[in-house]
């Protein structure tokens, strides 16, 4: 655990500026098995201190790869000088940031450090199960991994905090060949917040889902190409999560709004059907802890939910303290940094569409000719809201019934147009949290949602 050598440095903060001083330890554990061979076996532990200083509308930042009292003083001095350089050459004379009440926020999670053998043995056991039960696979890959961060934050005003955020996963990827010899693959992530030893006690607990993954792969192996064009589809919860994050979430990050995103002209306007409500949850959603809870951000703002769309109307943005001042909004704890050497950026936390009242079975039964799209490999969106998601698993729907599986395809659309076509919303919420959001820095995020019936453009062959 990080010892507090930072609070004492508050005496060195300059009087007329806003200052953040952050110590951080980040660690990563990763074991990669390819067809049973360990091709990656890595442990990484990185720590250091950074300081950021805000002065008249510009920031100075500095970091050092040491967690020492001397390093704290060095980065404070360098960040202060950088802020002064920027103010001198490019300052815009903005007033100071509105102050926040002083507070101390303690850590809310445990941080264990399991030995590497735990990661290796678990992955090998799962791999052996797959090898034994599914010998016809063309290839298999099993990855056990953990990335965790611990931060100590001291700010000139706002909340000082000790943050512990561990998460761990087991990824399984299977590849099979079609009769024509073309490879097809499927992937599944298990796990979530918490260290590896807490999330993965018993490999056999995963076997039913691994069996189901193999079943789906066999269906996909005989899958068909989707017909290209605009179709009525049901997006599964994982796809809705991707949509919430990529296609809507990014456009309502206040820094991207200032960069000209489509949301700049749509505040308080209708952007979705009235069945759609979307929130970036801080730490608790519908009475339960979110996949990756955030209690305080790296600017010392205590985290609260950001209401983004309510009953189809765009109601807000996600802010840093600076952007909140610009837009006359309240900051809600969205400014987060990845490594000790990174400055806080506006990031999502747990972004999800709220569940509705429809049953998934009824939604499927309501479609005469369409698709049920379950899982996505990746997704990208534009600041215009135009999005594209890869679809790795899905089925055709014919006359209200699920049909053949689909080969890999993509869907695309424009978020604020497509969301207006949502006319059914399922009653179950599904979360995912295993990926990284990429902006200037990577960041773990949670995303989720119910199944949605809507119209999108689907790519074919």
């Amino acid at each position: 655990m990080l010892q507090d050598i930072l609070s004492a440095k508050k005496a060195l903060f300059a009087a007329d500026v806003h200052t953040e001083l952050r110590g951080q330890k980040s660690r990563n554990r990763r074991v990669v098995l390819l067809n049973g061979d360990i091709i990656g076996n890595v442990r990484s532990d990185v720590s250091g201190i950074s300081a950021r200083v805000y002065r008249s509308g510009v920031y100075g930042f500095s970091s050092m790869a040491e967690y020492t009292s001397e390093a704290a003083e060095t980065v404070l001095k360098a960040a202060t000088e950088n802020a002064a350089f920027m103010d001198r050459h490019a300052g815009i004379g903005k007033s100071p940031l509105p102050s926040l009440p002083a507070k101390k926020i303690p850590p809310k999670a445990e941080l264990h450090d399991p030995e590497q053998k735990i990661y290796v043995d678990f992955a090998r056991e799962v791999d052996a199960y797959i090898a034994e039960h599914y010998p016809k696979l063309a290839s298999r890959r099993v990855v056990s991994t953990e990335d965790s961060m611990e931060k100590l934050l001291v700010v000139s005003d706002g909340a000082d905090a000790h943050i512990i955020a561990p998460r761990s996963y087991l990824y399984v990827m299977m590849t099979a060949q079609t009769d024509a010899g073309a490879p097809v693959e499927l992937f599944k992530a298990f796990g979530g917040r918490g260290t590896f030893d807490l999330n993965f006690a018993d490999p056999s607990a995963l076997y039913p889902e691994i069996d189901a993954l193999y079943e789906r792969l066999m269906q996909k192996r005989e899958g068909i190409y989707a017909d290209a064009g605009e179709k009525t589809v049901i997006l599964g919860g994982m796809m809705t999560g991707m949509l919430s994050h990529e296609a809507v979430g990014h456009t309502v990050e206040a820094d991207l709004v200032l960069g000209g995103s489509v949301a700049a002209h749509n505040l308080n306007k209708r952007v979705a059907s009235d069945l759609v409500t979307l929130t970036d949850f801080a730490h608790t959603a519908f009475g339960e802890t979110c996949p990756l809870p955030v209690y305080v951000d790296d600017e010392g703002t205590e985290a609260t939910d950001a209401a983004l769309i309510r009953d189809g109307i765009l109601t807000g943005y996600m802010n840093s303290r600076e952007s909140a001042q610009h837009f006359g909004m309240q900051p809600g704890g969205n400014a987060r940094a990845w490594a000790f050497s990174d400055e806080p950026l506006i990031r999502m936390r747990n972004t999800a569409v709220h569940p509705g009242k429809d049953r998934l079975e009824d939604m499927i039964a309501s479609i005469d000719d369409g698709y049920y799209l379950i899982d996505s490999g990746n997704g990208q969106a534009d600041t215009t809201g135009e999005f594209m998601f890869g679809v790795t698993m899905g089925y055709e729907i014919r006359k209200g019934k699920l049909g053949r599986a689909l080969l890999d395809t993509t869907i695309s659309g424009v978020a604020f147009e497509m969301l207006k076509t949502v006319d059914m919303v399922s009653d179950k919420l599904e979360w995912s949290s295993s990926g990284f959001c990429g902006k200037k820095q990577p960041m773990p995020v949670g995303m989720g949602g119910p199944a949605l019936r809507c119209k999108v453009k689907i790519g074919g062959r």
Binding site: I39, N41, V58, Y59, F61, Q116, V184, G259, S341, T410
Partner: protein, 433 residues
């Protein structure tokens, strides 16, 4: 550098003392100066002092790797212990193999010293020039930086590389705006050895800004057709080149046997006009990758020569696993041989097709099939660019595309890492609303 050298020696001695059969380490120190522009104005200046230590050990043919950023002896001792414990928890794999010494080399590459004031001036000048020449462009984010440092790579088999290197880099992300209308965002990147000339004159920055400015009022294409697609350098890399590397020719897909090119060495896989190489020693490259992660010195090599697959991109480990041959490097500094026609000439022969500057698509399948959105794209009609397009999807299959090349441009984007032309392909599926 001497301090890093000593530290590397200490790490290897510690690994030997703790029972490693083989050890290697990379020890580095770096300093970065960075300016950020957000929403069209300066927002941040950063100074980063970084360190890195990566230790890899082999014990009884089992491998473990640890990364830390501390130089203190206690931290080093613990890191070596963790690397050995990681190795001991694995299973033996005789394919791990590392370079034999003696090799001792020292290099200086790129721009190891930073002129911070000049970097700021060139950043400011670039921002102002864009504002004047391209008033419809909003710079969503621009990051300009100088990153430099020292690295010592040393192995217990007498291999040592000492490198001092640095480079300036400019990364721009922008979109065009007029009232409430806006374009897709687009990014331009360039790595430079010096700041001798205005940055807008480097790479395709000026050309790309002008193209994006013309995309403010895009049309939606009606219907679906099969036709030629001209891919600009970044879209070419995204759709075609990364798929070749990731799905067909590298360690992972050859070891697991999913590469559809695994038996194609020596065969024609592309049009004879297509040649693809990896050339860290090309004079355009700012910072050369001098050695591989396994300690072998790098050299330039051809992957595809006149359409024929002449090599894979294999590490020694990958070569041992697949019975192949280690390649000259592990896939850095990619170059595609330029053609003879200008972009304009390439377009002039197309009756109906599209030009794509950026691609937003799903991960191509192992077979090379892909589909996705043609971003920042234009309609080509009767040999001319007629209008900008939105919501247009393209799909195709990379191995088929390589055999259906219509033409390769003589204009190439040289960005300090590699060199890429525009390529026109026949027979892609293009679909609008």
């Amino acid at each position: 550098m001497e301090r890093l050298n000593e530290l590397a020696r200490d790490i290897l001695a510690e690994a030997k003392a703790q029972g490693a059969d083989y050890a290697q380490c990379s020890v580095s120190e770096s300093e970065k100066k960075e300016f950020n522009v957000d929403g069209g104005r300066f927002s941040l200046m950063r100074t980063l002092y970084n360190r890195n230590v990566v230790i890899t050990v082999l014990k009884e043919q089992r491998k473990g790797t640890v990364q830390i950023n501390q130089f203190e002896s206690e931290a080093i001792r613990d890191a070596v212990r963790d690397a050995i414990a990681a190795a001991e928890s694995g299973k033996p794999d005789p394919a791990w193999e590392y370079a034999e010494g003696p090799v001792e080399q020292e290099f200086t590459d790129g721009a190891p010293d930073c002129d911070t004031d000049k970097l700021f001036e060139r950043t400011k000048e670039l921002l102002e020039t864009i504002r004047l020449r391209h008033p419809k462009i909003l710079m969503e984010q621009m990051i300009t930086e100088h990153d430099a440092g020292y690295e010592v790579f040393m192995t217990s088999r007498g291999v040592t590389y000492r490198t001092r290197s640095g480079a300036y880099s400019f990364s721009l992300m922008y979109s065009g705006h007029e009232g409430e209308k806006s374009t897709s965002f687009y990014g331009s990147d360039i790595k430079l050895k010096d700041l001798d000339k205005p940055v807008i004159e480097c790479g395709f920055i000026e050309r790309d800004l002008a193209m994006v400015e013309k995309q403010i009022d895009p049309k939606t294409l009606e219907g679906k057709f099969t036709g030629p697609v001209v891919l600009a350098p970044y879209a070419l890399a995204e759709i075609v080149l990364w798929t070749i590397i990731g799905n067909f020719v590298s360690d992972s897909c050859l070891i697991d046997g999913t590469s559809i090119w695994k038996d194609k060495l020596g065969e024609q896989v592309a049009d004879p006009a297509f040649s693809m190489s990896f050339e860290p020693y090309n004079e355009d490259v700012v910072v050369r990758s001098r050695h591989t992660g396994e300690g072998y010195p790098t050299e330039d090599f051809d992957l595809i020569r006149d359409g024929k697959l002449v090599s894979f991109v294999l590490s020694q480990y990958g070569a041992n696993k697949t019975g192949g041959k280690r390649s000259g490097n592990t896939g850095s500094n990619m170059r595609i041989k330029a053609g003879e026609k200008t972009l304009e000439e390439l377009i002039s022969g197309i009756e109906k097709g599209i030009l794509v500057m950026r691609f937003s698509g799903g991960q191509p399948a192992p077979s090379g099939e892909f589909s996705g959105v043609a971003k920042n794209s234009f309609l080509i009609e009767n040999g001319k660019i007629t209008e900008a397009l939105s919501e247009t999807m393209i799909s195709g299959c990379v191995p088929d595309m390589l055999k259906n090349i219509r033409g390769i441009s003589s204009d190439v984007l040289t960005d300090g890492d590699g060199s890429l032309p525009y390529i026109a392909f026949n027979g892609l599926t293009i679909s609008g609303k």
